[in-house]
């Protein structure tokens, strides 16, 4: 039985320009949220950092190299997780420790005991 050999047509070299890349918007928002968590928006900023960071990483992974910003997303995630964990720990301690009979400085509580004398 004879064998047939097909000659492969010569491969044409593609000259398509590389797909343009852009930075993930989610990654930028994640970073912004993560930073804002330390600039007054405690907890909320961190939460934004976490959510947008995960969305960004998923988007970057699916983009096959056309979307960048992984470093930014990771930084947003780290800042965000630390911020949210810190906020949760602080809130839990403020609730649990008094229930366990641990006194709070200032009598009325760390956040409640304020000087009432005007500026």
């Amino acid at each position: 039985m004879g064998q047939y050999y097909y000659q492969q047509p010569p491969q044409q070299q593609s000259y398509y320009p590389p797909a343009p890349t852009r930075t993930s918007t989610w990654a930028i928002i994640s970073m912004i949220g993560g930073i804002l968590g330390y600039l007054g928006l405690f907890g909320i900023g961190g939460l934004v950092g976490i959510i947008c960071g995960h969305v960004a990483r998923s988007e970057i992974k699916k983009s096959a190299g056309t979307i960048t910003g992984n470093g930014m997303a990771v930084a947003g995630l780290i800042l965000g997780y630390l911020n949210v964990i810190g906020t949760i720990v602080a809130v839990i301690l403020a609730i649990v420790l008094p229930l366990l009979g641990v006194a709070i400085c200032g009598g009325a509580g760390a956040l409640g005991g304020i000087i009432d004398s005007g500026y």
């Binding site: 852009r22 930075t23 993930s24 918007t25 989610w26 930028i28 928002i29 970073m31 912004i32 930073i35 804002l36 330390y38 600039l39 007054g40 928006l41 988007e59 470093g71 930014m72 930084a75 780290i78 800042l79 630390l82 810190g86 720990v89 602080a90 301690l93 403020a94 420790l97 008094p98 009979g101 641990v102 006194a103 709070i104 400085c105 200032g106 009598g107 760390a110 956040l111 005991g113 304020i114 000087i115 009432d116 004398s117 005007g118 500026y119």
Partner: protein, 270 residues
């Protein structure tokens, strides 16, 4: 989330409108915040810091606008922003070799913050006696970290052309920055009025600058003006948007806190 950036500059009419809104808000905030330069600085600190007296430095017995940790954080951020301006439009994140140092700064900030927080509860277990110099030091580290990621993010988003390499990559540059920040910290810790007064004002101004920069990046995304600016003049409307939003945040926090507490002073602990 596909975003198509619109490279047209923001029109003069809209810019004028934004400037008027910013001016009005700034005027209202100036009117209602405490008098004097330090009073205004206090009002900025009041929006982001607990301002507990015993955890703060003092200028001739007068509490500075923020606690030792926040003062350190914003002085560290200030040092890092000014230091990075040398490299203008470089926009790469710090190289991986700096990560352990940066992680250490974050960790130290977290551990000292938690330990300090636990002292609100006298019977709660703590690791060590919290001290203002530790608050200052750990704050400085965190402030440097924030600026090291914020500066490249700002450059990557605002400018049409930026250099995609780390803002700085040599150990000696990082070391030099840390030394400058520590120098500022030492000046604050000395509580010498002549040194602490300008540093107190600078730390409050840095809050405004950082918030304005963060919100300017956000507004660039919202208005689809990413990478649309070639100069500070082009970026002016976006920067004013960022400044206005920063002022709104500070004003809103000031208002809510003042309504809840009835005082511009910080929270009290024993």
């Amino acid at each position: 989330m596909p975003i198509m950036s619109d490279n047209k500059p923001i029109s003069r009419k809209i810019t004028l409108f934004i400037v008027i809104i910013a001016g009005l808000l700034f005027g209202i905030w100036l009117f209602y915040s405490p008098p004097g330069l330090l009073g205004k600085a206090d009002a900025v600190g009041y929006a982001v810091c607990h301002r507990i007296d015993t955890r703060s430095f003092h200028i001739d017995g007068r509490q500075v606008p923020m606690c030792a940790r926040c003062t350190g954080m914003y002085l560290g951020a200030f040092a890092a922003i000014v230091y990075q301006l040398r490299w203008k439009k470089k926009a790469g994140y710090p190289p991986k070799k700096f990560y352990p140092i940066m992680a250490f700064f974050v960790l130290a900030f977290g551990v000292d913050g938690l330990n300090s927080y636990l002292h609100f509860f006298p019977n709660a277990p703590t690791i060590y006696e919290p001290m203002n110099w530790l608050r200052l030091l750990t704050g400085i580290g965190m402030g440097i970290d924030i600026s090291l990621v914020m500066y490249p993010t700002f450059n990557q988003t605002i400018w049409d052309k930026y250099e995609d390499e780390p803002v700085f990559s040599r150990w000696r540059d990082l070391l030099f920055l840390i030394l400058i920040a520590l120098g500022l910290g030492a000046m604050a810790y000395s509580e010498i009025s002549l040194l602490l007064y300008p540093l107190a004002v600078i730390s409050s101004l840095t809050v405004l600058v950082l918030l304005a920069a963060v919100y300017a990046v956000l507004w660039s995304l919202i208005l689809k003006k990413e990478n649309a600016n070639t100069s500070w003049k082009d970026a002016f409307p976006i920067l004013i948007c960022g400044f206005t939003t920063a002022l709104l945040q500070i004003g809103a926090f000031d208002l809510v806190r003042y309504l809840l507490t009835g005082t511009w002073y910080g929270f009290l602990t024993g």
